[in-house]
Symmetry: none
Subunit: 193 residues, 4 copies
Amino acid sequence: MRATTRSGPVRSEAARRAILSAAVELLAERGYDQLAIEAIASRAGVGKQTIYRWWGSKSAIIAEALLEGMILRERLDVPNTGDIRADLGAWLREIGDVLLSKQGQGLARSLIAAATDNAEVGQRLRDAIAGSGALSTRLTAAIENESRLAADAPIDEIAESLVGALLLRALSRSQLDDDAIEGLITVALGHAG
Amino acid sequence: MRATTRSGPVRSEAARRAILSAAVELLAERGYDQLAIEAIASRAGVGKQTIYRWWGSKSAIIAEALLEGMILRERLDVPNTGDIRADLGAWLREIGDVLLSKQGQGLARSLIAAATDNAEVGQRLRDAIAGSGALSTRLTAAIENESRLAADAPIDEIAESLVGALLLRALSRSQLDDDAIEGLITVALGHAG
Amino acid sequence: MRATTRSGPVRSEAARRAILSAAVELLAERGYDQLAIEAIASRAGVGKQTIYRWWGSKSAIIAEALLEGMILRERLDVPNTGDIRADLGAWLREIGDVLLSKQGQGLARSLIAAATDNAEVGQRLRDAIAGSGALSTRLTAAIENESRLAADAPIDEIAESLVGALLLRALSRSQLDDDAIEGLITVALGHAG
Amino acid sequence: MRATTRSGPVRSEAARRAILSAAVELLAERGYDQLAIEAIASRAGVGKQTIYRWWGSKSAIIAEALLEGMILRERLDVPNTGDIRADLGAWLREIGDVLLSKQGQGLARSLIAAATDNAEVGQRLRDAIAGSGALSTRLTAAIENESRLAADAPIDEIAESLVGALLLRALSRSQLDDDAIEGLITVALGHAG
DNA sequence: CTCTAATCGAGACGGTACGTCAGGTCTTTTA
DNA sequence: TAAAAGACCTGACGTACCGTCTCGATTAGAG
């Protein structure tokens, strides 16, 4: 008894990449709501069926592009100068520029919109920004080396608070000024009376 | 010199309310993406044009319903027993039930989706939960009476952090368990090492 | 006992004329199918209800305009030089110019379209061109004075044939060249072998 | 060097026929003005886009149905007993029944209405009744064999006169009685004094 | 070196919803 | 109480995409 082995051509990597690229481009240009599968297919020079064969929805395409680092790839690292307060400030400023600036607002809201109809996008978005990645690592390091954070500081919730505040800003279209950044850091790092 | 007064019939309040009600019902039933203007019109027993005459998009309808308190009306008050930590815990549990429970998740994500294409929804969503309303008031009271919060605690940012974290949970479909609630409160109220 | 006299303003003749004029203008500009009651009202500076109060349909407006001679008023007279053949030729050329020329085709087809949904328009169109008016009169005169037509020539049917042929040309968008005019006259005036 | 052949699915003949049939049915039931593309699509069990993909207007559908002989197929032949006068009488009576009778009036006016916004319908309508088809043929035969028509009788204009008269009758909703038929035949076949 | 099966680009198909236009009715204000 | 203005419900318009389904051509193991 043998496993029946498939014959015929194999999935085209070129098509896959073209689709992801087209999707990312169009997401930036038009926003998630205006992003049409037909437009992706056309831009990628691909038949619609090739998309439907491999992805179940447009949010799944975005999820995969996110996973491949084709969106939000750079500038999400938290610096580590030894001063957690300064580092968080720099990071918030950086990420605020990317996500909340005039040009970037669309992107942030597009990703949020994608997350609303695909759990995986939500997860990956969270991971990409707050996740096991850079932010948590930096906070952990701060506990050990900087004694500014209590040893039992709730790292996950700190990260969530920061990222959640960013999300809320993106939704309400408000910029992140210096005072707000200061305030958020104060909350994150503790401010008991 | 008088202002020229328009003659002719006046906007129908009955139609306006029927539209808002239908929109709220359908939002809960189907979610924002599946919410069709035609369905609202049909459920409200109204012509589509009557909707387009007064609102520019479906998100504008949601924004108005939010303003009228037709969504998220109840259970958003923060209790005041004199113990801010306990009160915040109760409030988070309550609101977590509304927004993150099986039935409620749709609502939270629907509101977020609506916010992604309408700044006003974003603003009002923020106000409705974190706004000048209950949460800030309770935190201010805590500063004065409970000496758990420093006098200069950044109240707005605390509220933003809490609400943002809730929305982030809604996006990534994670429940709010007791540990998470504890963590969030610790962040909110300060936990310096 | 007195007759109860109606109070209040009486039908506005100004409005009536404005409506007919606007209808005639728009009929010429846009054609019957594109002729909208709302456009007539707007152009006439009149409320829609003022139209619906007095007319049952847009074709009824056209019928009245036709009756008032606001359409097809001029150039429909048949000349009478004593030579019926020459006179019919001149008349056909004239009317052919009005109804079948580039600019006029629309008018002819518009009137035909109006006739398809209003019997009165059909009747009046026929009367206006072939009717008790000029054409029949001229043919009758020809019988008496020119002995080219038999005394019992079926005048009504001759007129019908000529006008019908013109309308048929309008429908099939064919011009009326000299040969066709000759042929029609030959048919009209008799040509037995 | 070969012509590049399109790949992909091919036009559905079933859909095409269903659309034409539905259109013809609805034309008879409701008349041209009340004929809605949506109703055709629905009756044919077809998406609207499938109609718009292949036809530019509802009149184009009627034009094609006319070309396919789905309308006015039967009973338009002119009999040939050797007596042109009798034959034309029979034909006029026949066609008058079809087009001008209570049931048929709608059809005649519907076709005329279709012709007013589509040149092709006008042409085909003319061809179907007066065209190179039966009527002209019969008249030509009469010239050769019956010596009732002069050799140079203007056949096209005779046909036009007859059909035009029918058109005018249809527009003015008047029946075609025996006297009128006699008169028209007299005009058609010549009656010089 | 064929045969077979799956992939690909293309795009037609039955649908749903869009946002707009106009129809005919009803309501309000002004004259 | 007619007339202007215009809101209302209805229904159809023509368009954009949806997700499914053919097509014909191409391509890579299996026999």
